[in-house]
Symmetry: C2
Subunit: 203 residues, 2 copies
Amino acid sequence: MRAIATALGALALAAFLAAAGSAGASDKAARFDASGKMLFPADYRTWVFLSSGHGMSYNPAANAAAEAPFDNVFVDPVSYRSFLKTGTWPEGTVLALEVRAGTSHGSINKSGAYQSGEPLGVEVHTKDTRRFGKADDGWAFFPFEGGKPATMIPREAGCCSCHAASTAVDHTFVQFYPTLLPIARAKGTLNPAYLAEEKTEGH
Amino acid sequence: MRAIATALGALALAAFLAAAGSAGASDKAARFDASGKMLFPADYRTWVFLSSGHGMSYNPAANAAAEAPFDNVFVDPVSYRSFLKTGTWPEGTVLALEVRAGTSHGSINKSGAYQSGEPLGVEVHTKDTRRFGKADDGWAFFPFEGGKPATMIPREAGCCSCHAASTAVDHTFVQFYPTLLPIARAKGTLNPAYLAEEKTEGH
């Protein structure tokens, strides 16, 4: 799991979410067992695709090779439709980050990289203030291995603080989701810190 | 359009498709105007995501940089569900290939690449033997620019011959779609030429 831990840790865009809010229990994209573990969202590959990255990292020296992993981010369809209207995420949002190996040479491909094999890991990011309280505005992370129920990542682990400090919209890396960023801009939901960063970068 | 032409031309995985078959007119993922041009499938981003590649090329020297474009491939949900059952594509399948710019430095990302901006282009691949006849088993390509109706790419352009010769399943690059490849293998729908290639490559 070192590769996946590195990939997930390095991933600048660990940005996703889960279920609840005003929706009925049957609509929830995130489900939990009696001990509070999240059940694996087995249908996430048919949710709405937000974007993918390749070898993304905070570290300039890391992952620049073609064989670096890809990450694919999906969001549950109900929350996606809500975002289109509001520019931000409702209670119950679930984002799933999937990491897959990158392969440069295979079949007719001779350069660049494509995705191959089973997922190296899936991490879910969900917003549920009733379950998780007001800390981090109700967002929590759950790392899955092999479809087994997942335990919440402790808030001290660094995911939450980075998602609080560096994300464009409500703890999520909408700056890396090209179909959502213009919507958030139009709706005025971009975080002030992100807007300041954009200004510094000369966008 | 040179960048997109290069990206599309280089793309080893121009693999997608369109609507019709036994479905009623209202179910069709591909629609055409009276002159035979395909209308832009405006909702393709909510179809089922198959995979993405980064800088993929037939050419070993091309597109290896982080700033190389990404390609995202989506399929209409009806045809996706059919593939899960049969391991191949039904009449009316529509695949959409979207190309987006790759960006390496922005926000907290310092290595690798993420997708940014509006699509550089969208190309649709559709299977419709009633509309297109038996040539290429009914498959045809339509390149879109800015949402305007698209004219079919001539069969002589090379897309069709490559898709006939090098694809894993029925003119589509399923070898680059990691969730579909195991299904095709289990269902016995992989093309003989692809199986021979796999053997040569030592899979």
